[in-house]
């Protein structure tokens, strides 16, 4: 966006101030965003010696962990996102109901917003570990007789389940905040009208709230899906070697095997998946122009 591409409007002296203010951020994004993004594709199509080849991609695909990592990551994304959306919507509806102490509820629901993936993972380890809180509580209440091994490497779906719960706890807040902001822009009269005509809560959600929330839903879904594709510390803390996710493979190739090219191939693959997911959301939930705020 150089100044030379801007036509002189003739009426007023052109104001350079905004361009000067934007330059530092553009240079920074060019150097630390565009360049590495470009480089991840360059590295992916090179051998460690810098020769152009498909070898790194071949190595990535041939690795025994390739399909398991993709399967686990996509499974988590597909299960976590709908649950998270429902939970975030429930929280947002409670906030929007303006019960007594709204600011307290909002604060509590927003708490995980600042909690790191790693801390969140360990929090749920303390709950799901064999001698942890869940088994303690279930046994004290007499619901089970012996502690259940939740983190068993043999039980894939239990591992997926506990990671889903941890992710719902950790990462729903951001969706909730976006949805609360979206709900506030729905005029109260619409909901009251629906209520007066006897619409149930479910009908109001389905017929009034969700359609009007579309712009917020779009943003919330794109943000969360991209973050969910990068799931890392929660999965590692809870599942250990029981399952592997894409970020973990990326890291393993970068740090343990010390092959930046294969790691970059993973990074490029995750980039592509994020772009596809974004396009998918934009296609499934198109926002009409008049709805765009």
């Amino acid at each position: 966006m150089t100044a030379s591409t801007v036509e002189y409007t003739g009426k007023r002296k052109r104001n350079w101030a905004p361009y000067i203010l934007l330059v530092p951020s553009l240079l920074f994004l060019l150097l630390f965003f565009a360049t590495p993004m470009f480089n991840s594709f360059v590295l992916a199509f090179q051998t460690p010696d810098g020769v152009w080849s498909l070898e790194s991609i071949q190595t990535m695909v041939d690795d025994v962990s390739f399909w398991p990592a993709i399967k686990a990551t996509l499974t988590l994304v597909i299960i976590v996102i709908p649950f998270q959306l429902a939970l975030a919507l429930a929280m947002a509806l409670v906030i929007n109901k303006r019960l007594k102490g709204t600011s307290l509820w909002l604060y509590l629901y927003a708490l995980p917003l600042a909690i790191s993936e790693l801390a969140a993972g360990i929090v749920w380890v303390s709950i799901f570990t064999q001698k942890g809180w869940l088994n303690s509580i279930l046994e004290t209440l007499g619901i089970i007789e012996r502690g259940i091994i939740w983190q068993s490497a043999e039980s894939y779906w239990t591992l997926i389940g506990i990671i889903v719960v941890a992710e719902m706890w950790r990462a729903t807040s951001i969706m909730m905040i976006i949805l609360v902001a979206g709900l506030q822009s729905i005029p109260d009269e619409y909901l009251e009208a629906a209520e007066v005509y006897g619409a149930s809560l479910w009908q109001r959600v389905r017929r009034v709230i969700l359609p009007m929330l579309r712009p917020s839903l779009q943003v919330a879904l794109i943000l969360r899906i991209i973050l969910a594709i990068q799931i890392f510390a929660t999965a590692v803390a809870l599942a250990g070697t029981g399952l592997t996710v894409m970020s973990q493979q990326t890291l393993e190739w970068a740090n343990d095997i010390d092959n930046d090219n294969v790691a970059a191939a993973w990074a490029a693959l995750m980039l592509l998946m994020s772009i596809i997911a974004t396009i998918g959301v934009l296609w499934l939930l198109p926002v009409k122009d008049e709805q765009q705020v």
Partner: protein, 291 residues
């Protein structure tokens, strides 16, 4: 916790006049409160449990079944974690990386946010689109090619390298957030100062900046926490000089459970304080990012 009215309440029209309270209505309200409490418990109980786990006295660490009511509060675990090799150093590195990130992200992002808020110019929408679309990319993954670039530049395994990556992570948010902060300050105030003889720069420094300060502080605090929380980029970009999450992550598999609990506790405390401090701005910070 008597927090002052948040924007949830303040931005809404006054509630409609009360209608007659039928038993059905009362039951309905009651059910809303029950839902509010259940959802809050889902968030709060795990935090309570990790605090109990981290402060359980050594003798009771492996008790089973554990008692939800603390048997005693003890800081042995937390002390053992803090005194473990490299943890204090890693802690300070995390603090410093966070501070550098805040300075860079605001120093670079706030002017852009100001430009978006105050000027109408060619390319404004294009710039917004660039910033918005950066959110459609898994930025943390860019640390892989960055590690290669850093080795050439000689900043691999340094706090600066980590902070630059974190700045890239935070910048889109900083731009959008600061822009929404400046939008909320009437430009007429600045113009009035200029008609009274202030230069544009002086009008900004003396009028807009003081008014924007609370919002900018909230943005700064949240930027710091983004940096404090990052694990993946820090693990990729450091080796012998890890940040705190990187230090914990790399020894996670060998670490005892009480050590992990203490680690989670130490990472959690600043996060909870941060959300408390910026609670009034939560919707402003994130909600407006939508638009």
């Amino acid at each position: 916790m008597t927090a002052p009215a948040v924007s949830v309440e303040s931005t809404q029209a006054p509630p409609p006049p009360r209608r007659k309270q039928t038993p059905r209505k009362i039951l309905n309200t009651f059910l809303w409160y029950v839902s509010a409490v259940i959802l809050a418990l889902f968030i709060v109980v795990p935090i309570y449990l990790i605090f109990v786990s981290a402060t359980t006295p050594d003798a009771n660490v492996y008790d089973y079944p554990k008692s939800v009511i603390p048997v005693g509060i003890d800081t042995d675990n937390i002390e053992a974690f803090i005194t473990a090799a490299g943890v204090i150093d890693a802690f300070w590195r995390s603090v410093v990386a966070g501070v550098i990130t805040v300075v860079l992200a605001l120093g670079i992002g706030a002017p852009a946010g100001y430009a978006l808020a105050r000027y109408v110019f060619r390319g404004r929408d294009g710039y917004r689109l660039i910033v918005l679309s950066t959110r459609a990319f898994p930025i943390v993954i860019l640390s892989i090619p960055l590690a290669v670039m850093y080795r050439n530049w000689g900043i691999f395994d340094t706090v600066w390298g980590v902070a630059l990556m974190h700045t890239a992570l935070a910048l889109p948010f900083t731009v959008l957030i600061t822009s929404s902060v400046f939008v909320s300050i009437p430009r007429e105030l600045e113009e009035a100062a200029q008609t009274l003889g202030c230069s544009p720069a002086r009008a900004f420094l003396r009028v807009s900046l003081p008014l924007a300060l609370p919002g900018l502080t909230a943005a700064a605090i949240f930027t710091w926490v983004l940096s404090w929380n990052d694990v993946f980029a820090a693990v990729v970009l450091t080796l012998r000089n890890p940040t705190l999450p990187a230090r914990i992550m790399t020894s996670l598999t060998q670490a005892s459970l009480p050590w992990q609990y203490a680690a989670a506790f130490v990472m959690l405390v600043p996060s909870l304080i941060v959300i408390f401090v910026i609670r009034k701005y939560l919707l402003g910070l994130w909600g407006r990012v939508v638009k």
